[in-house]
């Protein structure tokens, strides 16, 4: 699979492409962080997941596309990994001063806005990951799998697309209520 096909696959939330990406980049990523930073495997896998999320975000936000990839995807991904490692360590000033991260255009924030953005994302991610059924399934099917209301209804046993829509609105309302207690939008 080419770098361009990976980018396209991430844009479409194509799980087969993500699987192929995992299979092809895991070994390189683990070897890099084991040898360069002496990290253990559990930490490296956390980093790998976070780096995949940043890669996915950058593709979805148009920061990375098939046409503006300035290096190989593996080089870009390792730099994203370094970025996520520094973000875990809260080294935001070092991130914005890192020439490679700047050259790869992995972020476009200053240190303060980067801190604010990352902390906000962590809160939302934690809240969403604690969602209970049926909200977790419905929202995943809606946003990640991009299924229509009727497809979700058929898959999860709702009477029709409107029921799914109602349930989804309730889920978002619930999440919103929790989040607004913690962060300001």
């Amino acid at each position: 699979m080419t770098d361009q096909e990976y980018i396209q696959g991430f844009r479409n939330n194509d799980e087969r492409v993500v699987t192929s990406f995992y299979e092809n980049f895991r070994q390189l990523f683990f070897a890099f962080f084991r040898s360069r930073f002496s990290k253990d495997d559990a930490y490296i896998f956390d980093l790998f997941q976070d780096a995949c999320v940043v890669l996915w975000q950058n593709i979805h936000q148009g920061k990375l596309s098939e046409s503006n990839l300035s290096s190989s995807l593996s080089t870009y991904f390792l730099s994203v990994g370094r970025f996520t490692m520094m973000a875990k360590d809260r080294k935001f000033k070092e991130i914005v001063n890192d020439s490679e991260i700047a050259r790869m255009k992995i972020i476009d924030d200053d240190a303060d806005s980067l801190r604010e953005r990352i902390e906000r994302e962590e809160v939302v991610l934690r809240t969403v990951s604690e969602m209970k059924p049926p909200c977790d399934s419905i929202l995943k099917a809606h946003y990640w799998d991009k299924l229509s209301g009727s497809e979700i209804a058929a898959k999860y046993g709702f009477s029709n697309a409107d029921s799914v829509k109602t349930q989804k609105s309730k889920c978002i309302k619930k999440l919103r209520a929790v989040l607004e207690k913690i962060i300001e939008f």
């Binding site: 997941q49 995949c52 991610l125 969403v128 990951s129 929202l139 799998d145 609105s169 989040l179």
Partner: protein, 231 residues
């Protein structure tokens, strides 16, 4: 655009990127002037991004779990094969050591049970037998076996000589007994060195012959250690 086309559907389409370019341009121009709509899009986009990030992470966790399971299976298989190999090795080496020890012990017992002739004549065969007996006692097995080969060669020559009279018949019988003695000494030497299979071959030959040591050889061969050895 339908009048019933409500705001939530439009936010959804905008976030999921399924809005037409025309509708998107209209929606974005509305966003510029509508702070409530801006906030709603911000909240729902954050949730949508987080839902997708969590889904992506869960997919990766499933892949990693499968990878770890495969690695564990590989490690367990390797450990199982190593353990099985160790058991097999231990069986053969351990069994070999036991058999080897038994063989040496049998050799020592057989030697201790030997009653050397009080007087031997000075003929070469007797002389070689006497010296080899002493050497077996000293643990000089290679030297003893070498002397026994020489003695055996002399005995063979004598045994191949034709029996022409009573005296030669007596000589023949005497030499045969000495030959049996040589074979037994040789077997003792082999056993004392722990050469299990070689000893079994020598003992079997003695047991199958008319040797006075046939019963001794059979007794050793009947032991469970020797029974398990293939020729």
């Amino acid at each position: 655009m339908s009048e019933n086309y409500n705001i939530q559907d439009r936010i959804d389409e905008y976030i999921r990127g399924t809005m037409s370019e025309h509708d998107r341009a209209i929606f974005e121009s509305e966003l510029l002037h509508n702070l409530d709509l801006q906030k709603e899009v911000r909240v729902q986009s954050s949730i949508a991004d987080a839902v997708q990030a969590v889904s992506l992470k869960r997919h990766l966790q499933d892949l990693e779990a499968a990878h770890q399971k495969k690695q564990r299976t590989r490690r367990l298989t390797f450990r199982f094969i190593s353990a099985a190999a160790a058991v097999v090795l231990l069986f053969f080496v351990g069994g070999g050591i036991l058999q080897n020890n038994y063989c040496r012990q049998a050799g020592r017992v057989a030697y201790a049970a030997l009653i050397p002739e009080a007087t031997r004549s000075s003929n070469p065969v007797d002389s070689l037998l006497q010296t080899s007996y002493t050497m077996l006692g000293n643990g000089s097995f290679a030297e003893a076996e070498s002397l026994l080969i020489q003695a055996s060669s002399i005995a063979e020559t004598a045994l191949n000589a034709p029996i022409v009279d009573e005296a030669s018949e007596y000589e023949h019988r005497l030499m045969q007994e000495k030959k049996y003695e040589m074979e037994w000494y040789t077997a003792i030497s082999i056993m004392s060195q722990g050469h299990v299979r070689k000893a079994k071959r020598a003992l079997t030959k003695i047991a199958d012959s008319g040797s006075p040591y046939a019963s001794n050889a059979e007794e050793i061969l009947r032991s469970k250690f020797y029974k398990s050895i293939k020729q």
